[in-house]
Amino acid sequence: MMRIEIVKRPQHSALFSALSPFIALFLTLIAGAILFSILGKNPISALYSYFVEPLTEVWSIHELLVKAAPLILIAVGLSVCFLSNNWNIGAEGQFIAGGIAGSILPVVFPDFQGWYVLPIMLLLGMAGGMAYATIPAFLKVRFNTNEILTSLMLVYVAQLFLDWLVRGPWRNPQGYNFPETVQFSDSAILPAIWPDSGRAHWGFALAIIAAVVVWFMLSRTLNGFEIKVLGRSSRAGRFAGFSAGRLTFFAFLVSGALAGLAGIAEVSGAVGQLRTSISPGYGFTAIIVAFLGRLNPLGIIAAGLVLALSYLGGEAAQISLGISEKSARIFQGIILFFVLASDSLIYYRIRIVSRLSDTALKGA
């Protein structure tokens, strides 16, 4: 009889902090090889198209940044929420709200052009995300309503509202009555960083800036200290004179603003117009990214890139090997499991003990 036993380390292991990503990668490679062999594919070339092929071409690296930008932006905001024990599951809705609010200028006033259009759009996008995130924050503070539920329900409402808007009042009058708005004018497009080689836009730069700023706030300011103290124990926080209600608002506003910024950056930088659906679930995937990055904004940058790579790799594998999109999704789930499991090595020691020695120990 064998059994796994977990023992908490007295302090977290620096060794495993560094090693855990590699352990996860190693396990993922083995599991992936097994999975692809079962599917009758060559495991080596499958893993190659997953992890290497998307990085061998410049345009594809651009695409990686395009895909990672919203994930990082949203996840950085969510880390503030999750660290302070505010379970904002509705970043997808705040992303959409940001996309809508930021699109007011280019859609409703297309003739309004100039260098100042883009900054206003980005600010409006942040404001839209913030405003939408205020609803669950207000309900939580004022009525003690569970934020997981309200923020999640508001996602569906935002999706339907966007759908109505783009099919109705904001529909392109010259577009054969199809559900999309007018194309944004050039001054409303978030430009590419290196336009000659690909379409990665400044949204990625914004994501990096946001991650660094939030990292600084969390690790170097009183505000960050407050977040962590209240997050760990609301009682200890109250003794220190921190207000949980104020912090809830703060956390939701930060994450709403960043999700909204991600929304308008995606609409303006990557799509160029508002459509009935603007996100393939970035708001939900970002939750995973936030935890993969261990709720540390710098770790989130890496996690966002890894997750984006798994999307691109899945697509590459579909083309070069005919591995179905379904197995790509399964593989993605496996990666996540291994990363999560390896991370527990940082805080816990795992021992495999046999029943026999266990009883012997207790007897002694």
Binding site: I44, L160, D163, R167, E266, R275, I278, A316, I319, S320
Partner: protein
Amino acid sequence: MKKLIMALTVAASFAVAGPALAADKLKIGFIYIGPPGDFGWTYQHDQGRKQLEKELGDKVETTFLENVPEGADAERSIERLARAGNKLIFTTSFGYMDATVKVAQKFPDVKFEHATGYKTAENVSVYNSRFYEGRYVQGVIAAKMSKTGVAGYIGSFPIPEVVQGINSFILGAQTVNPNFKIKVIWANSWFDPAKEADAAKALIDQGVDIITQHTDSTAAMQVAAERKIKAFGQASDMIKFGPETQMTSIVDNWGPYYIERAKAVLDGTWKSHNVFEGMKEGLVVMAPYTNMPDDVKKLAEETQAKITSGELKPFTGPIKKQDGSEWLKAGETADDKTILSMNFYVAGVDDKLPK
């Protein structure tokens, strides 16, 4: 260990050799909005792809990307197909339009075919299907078969393609019963079987005795079968889901078009065009007429024959709009642009079109 290394080397050389073998084939790529397993829209495009492979055999090689969202991802997916050496790419949803045009500018030697849009370019064609022709036949059948004089219509989203279908259906029905009515429920989804089932139940509970749908799952057909009323299928032949229920179904038959366009690329005659094809060209096929008396079947077949020959065009005046204003004068036929951008109901539809 030695064995393992050998296996790895062999495997690696395979990976390198793989693409080279297919160099002289015409590579054709497809972008799908859903999974081929939706038994609806994407399923039918995938059937078309399979027909194409079967017909042209060794001369072509096809790949597809499924579940590609219509936002920023579409552009990358299309570009990836182009970079993978595909010389003909079909993008099979309206929302891929701008992404298709953008990628086409970067790859002038690749031919693009976009379904149901309106933007063309030197190397971008547009193809669309006159599904509404089938709806007209269904309307005629419905009015003959219904006892209550009311049919239920489950719509996905109020886009022109769906509105065309509703209007064509009621126009067909009115040729038999001028007072025929339809009730419409919008599911706000192309694909949510449980919700489509609920919508069908709600319609039946409100007294309709014919169900027709412009959503992709077979759920409504199953509900109709359970409640023992008649129904029409959508996108594919759904007879298995209602052997005593389905009267006919509009089958999206993309195969002939895909074969024709692939052949054109192979012999170098491919030219950009914008086509809107229907029964005549074989894009719209009606599943066998079943579960109806012979006289109704005969009438349905005659109607189909007239549409196929071009003698009958569903949108021919006199037609009034829902608000009573005149749309088409007697004998006047709607032009394709009006049909493609249709966003109003004709008289007789018992619903307010969401705007």
